[in-house]
């Protein structure tokens, strides 16, 4: 039998999904960054996972555009004038 465990980069997929945010922020130390990169070279599902996290961030940004909220500016202007004139 030629069965031995395969752990690309010395880091498991389960660990990769917990490090992805630090990885994308460039916040991993050199050692962990190298392990992540080595893992991603060899593991298409984790590459997909990292892409999905990036896509999620992008879709979140687009989703918010629909939600353009503007506070009641007439009330704010009134409050501003009142404040200014009270000084």
């Amino acid at each position: 039998m030629n069965e031995f465990p395969i752990i690309p980069g010395g880091i498991s997929c389960r660990e990769v999904v917990e490090l992805v945010t630090a990885f994308l922020d460039g916040a991993l130390d050199r050692h962990d960054r190298a392990r992540m990169e080595a893992h991603l070279e060899l593991c298409p599902p984790c590459v997909e996972y990292v892409d999905q996290i990036r896509t999620t961030a992008r879709v979140a940004a687009v989703a918010a555009v629909d939600l353009e909220l503007h506070p009641d500016s007439a009330a704010l202007l009134g409050a501003f004038k009142e404040f200014r004139d009270s000084r």
């Binding site: 069965e3 465990p5 395969i6 752990i7 498991s12 997929c13 389960r14 660990e15 999904v17 917990e18 992805v20 945010t21 630090a22 922020d25 916040a27 599902p45 984790c46 997909e48 996972y49 892409d51 999905q52 996290i53 896509t55 999620t56 961030a57 992008r58 879709v59 979140a60 940004a61 687009v62 989703a63 918010a64 629909d66 939600l67 353009e68 909220l69 503007h70 506070p71 009641d72 500016s73 009330a75 704010l76 202007l77 409050a79 501003f80 004038k81 404040f83 200014r84």
Partner: protein, 216 residues
């Protein structure tokens, strides 16, 4: 952090100090929507969020003389609204202790359901995917950005704990740098990252469910 750069709002700030209405309204246009969104992560209704925003602007105006420009005007304003909204939200909820980050940080929440990985004792793929994610790569952009998908993302974000919502809104919606978010929300860089990580992981998982349910 960028302390040699001049705050992009520098000129507005000077005009605001001189009592210029237009400068005030420009800032309201620029930061009002974000302030309202942050307020809404903590309080339940639009009306209360509007009150929080208004109180926060008064806080800004009252604090102008003391503002020394050690952080950017944007970060400073955001810090004021986040603090007020949090206090107001806690008063509404009556239960959450002021200082704690609540269950957001203390509980161990895996980013992905552990059942989707082989155990650590698996002979061939310890900790490897047993149920890997389906690819989104071939998904057309129209589907990814369809109104229904966006609605799904908004509701996924709305379900997150308040601290996670704040961080994902600032980082991913507003595109702030990690350092700015830590500063505005009084978080250590590590906590800022944990909150973002949990938020993105959950929103991704929600999207995945949604795509799989709507493909079948």
């Amino acid at each position: 952090m960028g302390d040699v750069l001049i705050d992009p709002d520098h000129e507005l700030l000077e005009r605001l100090r001189a009592g210029d209405e237009d400068a005030f309204m420009t800032l309201v246009d620029r930061y009002g929507p974000l302030m309202l969104r942050i307020a809404l992560t903590h309080v339940r209704t639009r009306a209360v969020a509007e009150e929080v925003v208004q109180e926060s602007w008064l806080g800004v105006l009252q604090g102008l003389d003391r503002f020394e420009g050690r952080s950017s005007l944007k970060t400073w304003i955001l810090r004021i609204v986040a603090n007020r909204a949090r206090t107001r939200g806690e008063r509404e909820a009556r239960s959450v202790p002021l200082s704690s980050l609540g269950p957001d940080l203390t509980e161990d929440e895996p980013a992905v359901d552990p059942d989707r990985f082989f155990g650590a004792d698996h002979a061939r793929y310890p900790g490897g995917w047993s149920v890997p994610p389906h690819s989104w790569a071939r998904m057309p952009e129209e589907r990814l950005l369809a109104a229904e998908t966006l609605e799904q993302v908004r509701s996924a974000i709305a379900k997150l704990p308040a601290r996670q919502q704040e961080v994902i809104v600032l980082r991913d919606v507003e595109g702030w740098e990690p350092e700015e978010v830590s500063e505005a929300l009084d978080l250590t860089p590590g906590n800022q990252r944990v909150l973002l990580h949990r938020a993105r992981s959950k929103v991704r998982a929600d999207l995945e469910h949604y795509f799989e349910a709507s493909t079948q």
